[in-house]
């Protein structure tokens, strides 16, 4: 009798041990899987918010005032804006990490948030302006970086004549793509930070879409078309 009772006790202890072991292994496996998934998951959530569908949807145009006998019109331009704005009315000059606005390239799915600063934190969430360059409206060269694996992936569909639109809280700036080239990351002749006229340069790693380290960069150059001049710069 005692041997039967002890046998049953051993059996139930063994079953409990089996269940506990399975649960422990399950918890450990889930923890490892979550550790692996959480980082990319955050990046995916941020990238999904910039779905690019806005760029995919064709812009609507006002045809109610169109005259059938009138001269044909080109694609719509930016809405009218003041000639100049004071940056201090909009919180002053941006600091590193500040979201400056949005940047889009017509004819591509490049459409993401533009940050001031080009550290990892900014480039993981969108495109970043090199702090040693200018901001839209300031005059001079605006140097913008972005990762080729994410937000600047569609550089390959950019063409000369396409528009780069930067929408900030203080105004909308339009630039026209004039040139594109591939250069090494140490080639300082690929960009001129001392240019007097306002212009924008976007760059990313090359070959496009590559995740491995590379010493080549793909540059897109844009000339200034329209946008208010910035005042109140110290």
């Amino acid at each position: 009798m005692k041997e039967t009772h002890s046998g049953k006790a051993v059996s139930s202890h063994s079953k409990r041990k089996n269940v506990v072991l399975s649960l422990v292994f399950c918890v450990a496996a889930v923890c490892v899987a979550l550790l692996v998934l959480v980082g990319p998951g955050h990046s995916l959530a941020g990238a999904a918010q910039r779905s690019g569908v806005d760029a995919a949807l064709p812009a609507s145009i006002d045809t109610t005032t169109s005259d059938n006998t009138a001269q044909p019109t080109e694609a719509p331009t930016a809405p009218p804006q003041p000639a100049a704005v004071n940056i201090n009315d909009f919180g002053g000059y941006p600091s590193a990490g500040d979201a400056l606005g949005e940047i889009k390239i017509s004819g591509t799915s490049v459409d993401c948030t533009l940050y001031y600063g080009d550290e990892d934190a900014q480039l993981d969430a969108g495109a970043g302006i090199y702090p040693g360059s200018k901001i839209p409206g300031e005059g001079g060269t605006i140097l913008v970086a972005g990762h080729t694996a994410t937000f600047f992936r569609d550089f390959e569909h950019a063409q000369n004549g396409a528009q780069i639109t930067v929408t900030t809280v203080y105004g909308t700036y339009v630039y026209e793509i004039t040139d594109m080239q591939v250069a090494t990351d140490t080639d300082t002749s690929a960009y001129d930070l001392d240019a007097a006229e306002e212009n924008i340069i976007l760059y990313t790693c090359y070959p496009l879409g590559q995740t491995a380290l590379t010493d080549l960069r793909y540059f897109i150059y844009g000339r200034f078309v329209s946008g208010p001049a910035l005042e109140g710069l110290s």
């Binding site: 292994f25 399950c26 450990a28 496996a29 999904a48 779905s51």
Partner: protein
Amino acid sequence: MTRPAEHPGAARLSVMVQLVGSVCAVLLALSLALAATLLREGHFAACIENSGYLDTLHTAVLDTCGGYAAAAGTTADPLADIITPEAVRAGVLHRADGLWHGSTVDETDPFNDLIVTYQDNVAPEPAVYDGYRILQYNCQMEWKSAMATPFSAAISMVLQYRTVVAVTMYLSALLLVGCIALQYRLAARWRVFCRGLLHMADACLLAGAVLAGWLGFGSGYRSWTAVGDIGYTLFCRWFGALAPAVLGCAALVAAIPTGLVFWVCVQYHRAKAQRPSCKTEKPVL
């Protein structure tokens, strides 16, 4: 049926091997699920075709290019034959293919012959009239924008892990087989071996269910894109397929050690059936 060899201190090592085997099984299931859904171009193409995105896009492109035609002072009738649902589908899928395989020359532009079409079917252009050229330019620019892959940044972000997922898949499969082999070497009895395998299978299935539940309901992927976005349904379909895939792959991977246990039991019963009956001899399992 012979017993596995006995090793001193094997019990603790066996538990560690089961733990590693469980983790490898879950990673294998996760890799398989990712390869079958988010990383597979066919899955994205199927989602695009079944979500109504193409129909919405077709209507929007037709409306906008019709507006350009009106602004150019001409009719939009020929555009309906140029901007067809098939052309939109080909354009969107061609651009999406560029994300998976790198860009190629865009041959899907349907407006190359627009000027000739209008001259032949509507009216020849007067010498000073530039309307057809401008209409063609506007339609081509809108086409290029409209064909952009929805949430391309998110897809590009996922695709950069293709190599990592492939390596993880093969490595975890190899380690799982190694753990099963090691479990065989360390188990003193067949029962212990089978118990170890069942631990791994249970852990894999349970973990797969937990992960599937988290991906489906805990990750909040439905709020990552705006509800009013025309790509919203598409994104939810695309990402939402991952949760059931994880569960299915976890069940598939758990079937491996379970199948081995089943095989061991079958062999045991065969051996028992062949052994001559003797009250003093009991087959030891």
